[in-house]
Symmetry: C2
Subunit: 200 residues, 2 copies
Amino acid sequence: MRTLTTRQSEILTFISKVISTEGMPPTRKEIAQKFGFKSANSAEEHLKALDKKGYIDLHGGTSRGISINRSFLGIPIVGSVAAGSPLLAVENVEERIEFNGNIFSDSVDYFLRVKGDSMNEVGIIEGDLIAINKRKDVKLGDIVVARINDDVTVKTLFHFDKKKVILRPENKNYKDIEINTSIESFDIEGKCLGVLRNYN
Amino acid sequence: MRTLTTRQSEILTFISKVISTEGMPPTRKEIAQKFGFKSANSAEEHLKALDKKGYIDLHGGTSRGISINRSFLGIPIVGSVAAGSPLLAVENVEERIEFNGNIFSDSVDYFLRVKGDSMNEVGIIEGDLIAINKRKDVKLGDIVVARINDDVTVKTLFHFDKKKVILRPENKNYKDIEINTSIESFDIEGKCLGVLRNYN
DNA sequence: TCTCATACTGTGTATTTATACAGTATAAAT
DNA sequence: ATTTATACTGTATAAATACACAGTATGAGA
């Protein structure tokens, strides 16, 4: 997908915001006003560029006829994570779900599909989607997504200091994971905000 | 809140649908076309009635300037259910969450807040919100919301025939619930589509 | 009986809106 | 050196749109 200029990106963000706050896309004039353009045609041209690049669809002859391309909407679902690859790498994103609203306490960066039963006792089971926020300021007791030597795992953060981290599975069949941070690479990838499960 | 006529309700539903599928509210003409009105003014009048009754807000002089009142948007969360009252009775709705999208396999009529630990072993724990669809065509193995003599409960549907129903808690500390439908009142209130959990 | 709300058709128009065309200017690509 | 993309202003206009006013018809309530 072709990259956007700074201005185009600003415009796309504005359109997206107007849709979610006003319930309808902006007109050319409204876009021009927002950015201080003296001619609505500036907006028109940016819209055409966004359309050409595939980020939006313009519905000719229709007032407020702007729709944002669905593949940019929605939150990615990260399935199997290839060892060593960034979580949000294209090859790890199995699909996206449309999802807007204030369901979770913070903004959701992505959903991670849960594998295994190591968190069974807190109601997180195989196949569940857990909502993740990428910020790093997690605290003890939080359920976190962590990366230990290229492996991604979901556990409760039980202990954390300069030398040692302890991750706790919530299943009595599993033992705590102790990481010696001086010899193993360790990273917090995000905090678990909640759980989404869909029965078929 | 004043009640809507059948027509007004149809129009409100249509507007809501257009917003979610097209990404923008319809024009008067589009409403008229949908319902076969020969004059766009019919749509205009229905919109005025909906505005007057508080269901929508009309933004004067703005194309597609229709917004649906937020208190009618979102899906109700049903908390404690007063014995004998309908699940969706006002007094049982603790709040609503904005929620649009195709997260669950079917349309969600409401969310029910889970009490107790009787479904722990399938990952449904106290405080979870379970997404419910009101239709009655459930099958064995489905997790259902059932009403037994004025009490509402969430269990797996294990057996169902003309005389007897068995509901199974998913926790070995609980026993199956057998209902003799000839002497006890029994109703399926809905099918559980999924689970939503939000950590704070 | 009269009024009022609902549910339409039909006409008209001011305003909003999309969108084309003609320019100016700059930076990157060929 | 010339094209091409970006980023604007300014003008113009056809089409889309909101919305008022004038009717017709029906059923409910006062």
